[in-house]
């Protein structure tokens, strides 16, 4: 009896590993920066290039940093949600314009609306490397002390906002 149960047991363990492992999305990488301070940067504002934006300006607020670009189709998909959030005043959203062209980015916002309080423009993508950005869109939750609390790679859905981001932001605002 035991001699049949042992291989069966090993097989069951392997199946369990496969079910968990193959169910995961290999593109969803954990960010090493979670729990660490926001990287320092100073980037020109998209609307007013003579002014710059630094994350220090947001100290004392809980905010979202949304990495977007006009060339990125998924950014278009999540955009209506950010428009809604900004209209309802639910959260401060900074739009980190990633490897874009200024006129393209401005045109995109002109068409779809601008939900962002600030738009630092990283044309070269060098600052994005400090954040470990590996694509657009990505969304970071940053707390009042300027610590990165969460990173989500991919388009934020209504469900993801409702179930994950909003409760997290409300909790961070209490602190």
């Amino acid at each position: 009896m035991v001699r049949y149960l042992v291989p069966l047991g090993i097989f069951a363990v392997m199946v369990a590993f496969f079910v968990v492992g193959l169910g995961k999305d290999p593109r969803e990488l954990p960010s090493v920066l979670v729990g660490k301070p926001t990287p320092k940067f100073n980037l020109p504002e998209l609307h007013k290039p003579q002014e710059t934006f630094s994350p220090d300006e947001m100290l004392g607020k809980v905010w979202l940093m949304n990495v977007w670009a006009s060339w990125c189709p998924s950014c278009r998909a999540e955009h209506p949600l950010f428009m809604q959030l900004s209209r309802q005043g639910k959260v401060n959203i900074v739009g980190f314009n990633y490897k874009d062209r200024r006129q393209d980015a401005l045109q995109w916002l002109g068409q779809l609306g601008d939900p962002y309080s600030n738009i630092p423009a990283d044309l070269s993508g060098d600052v994005a490397i400090d954040f470990g950005v590996y694509g657009a869109p990505e969304t970071y939750v940053i707390d009042k002390q300027g610590i990165i609390r969460h990173r989500y790679a991919g388009a934020v859905s209504h469900q993801y906002w409702r179930e994950t981001l909003e409760p997290m932001i409300r909790e961070l605002e209490q602190q």
């Binding site: 290999p26 960010s31 090493v32 920066l33 490897k99 993508g125 060098d126 490397i129 400090d130 694509g135």
Partner: protein
């Protein structure tokens, strides 16, 4: 047919030109280092390619970053650490030996040792089964009667 083939070839050659964005360094030693570092790092956009091979925009940026860090005199380890600090251990094709992934490194050897031990134990058991113990008087008598019966027929 010929036209579309030409168009494809043109498109390919265009991409290849685009891929060689950063000016290759004239110094072959530096070029070798660049190649060594960028071949050890995973492109996170297209996860089965190295940064050296990848044509993704992110890989361009990271290659530029590696070149500029070589030029500022950083060591290979410092450059890899810089990448790991931003993108995590996943960026390394050869994982570093750390307490979190110790099983990854010793696991195969552990399995091999377990296999050897089971093999030896099993072989010993088998040897015990086939070793011939002398027959007892009773058994000998039984065998003899059986032989007699058979030959008597």
């Amino acid at each position: 047919m010929k036209k579309s083939l030409l168009a494809i070839l043109l498109a390919i050659s265009f991409f290849q030109v685009e891929a060689k964005e950063a000016v290759p360094n004239e110094d072959p030693a530096i070029e070798d280092r660049f190649k060594a570092i960028s071949s050890e790092l995973r492109c996170l956009k297209c996860q089965n390619q190295t940064i050296f091979d990848s044509k993704a925009g992110l890989a361009d940026d990271l290659r530029r970053q590696i070149r500029s860090q070589i030029n500022t005199g950083k060591s290979n380890d410092e450059i890899v650490d810089y990448m790991v600090a931003r993108y995590g251990d996943f960026i390394r094709y050869r994982p570093a030996l750390k307490p979190e992934n110790i099983l990854l490194w010793v696991g195969p050897f552990l399995l091999m040792i377990i296999g050897f031990i089971t093999l030896i134990v099993q072989l010993k058991k088998r040897r015990a089964l086939i070793s011939d113990a002398p027959l007892s008087a009773d058994e000998l008598a039984k065998v003899n009667t059986i032989i007699k019966d058979k030959s008597g027929e």
